[in-house]
Symmetry: C2
Subunit: 69 residues, 2 copies
């Protein structure tokens, strides 16, 4: 099981968190998604490695922007 935290721009409320969670959960291997709206952080737990590109795509699909480190 692996866990990574990403920074996402533009999330302002619980609905935003829900949209991001729904899209990220569709990524193969993801078992949990935790969103911290005020911090702009999304923590993804997965049972297989998840590529940053897949996360960026899911976040954009939800209407937000992944901030690359």
């Amino acid at each position: 099981m692996a866990s990574s935290t990403y920074t996402v721009k533009g999330m302002t409320c619980g609905h935003c968190a829900g949209s991001v969670t729904a899209e990220v959960q569709k990524i193969d291997g993801v078992v949990d998604v935790a969103v911290d709206v005020p911090a702009g952080q999304v923590t993804i737990t997965s049972n297989a490695p998840v590529s940053d590109d897949a996360v960026a795509e899911a976040v954009e699909e939800a209407g937000y922007e992944l901030v690359r480190a």
Copy 2:
């Protein structure tokens, strides 16, 4: 046809606007709801008078707060 504009606190994004719109549209006589998120304003068009209490209830049901003048 009557049109009234209300001030609503706490709307931060398009999802918030959607939640408020969905609840206000349920009020009898309402034919159109227009939300301006940055301004925190909700304009309601109806073919019958709508009470402020009904609007306040709908806004609260959506999870936001009507600011009484």
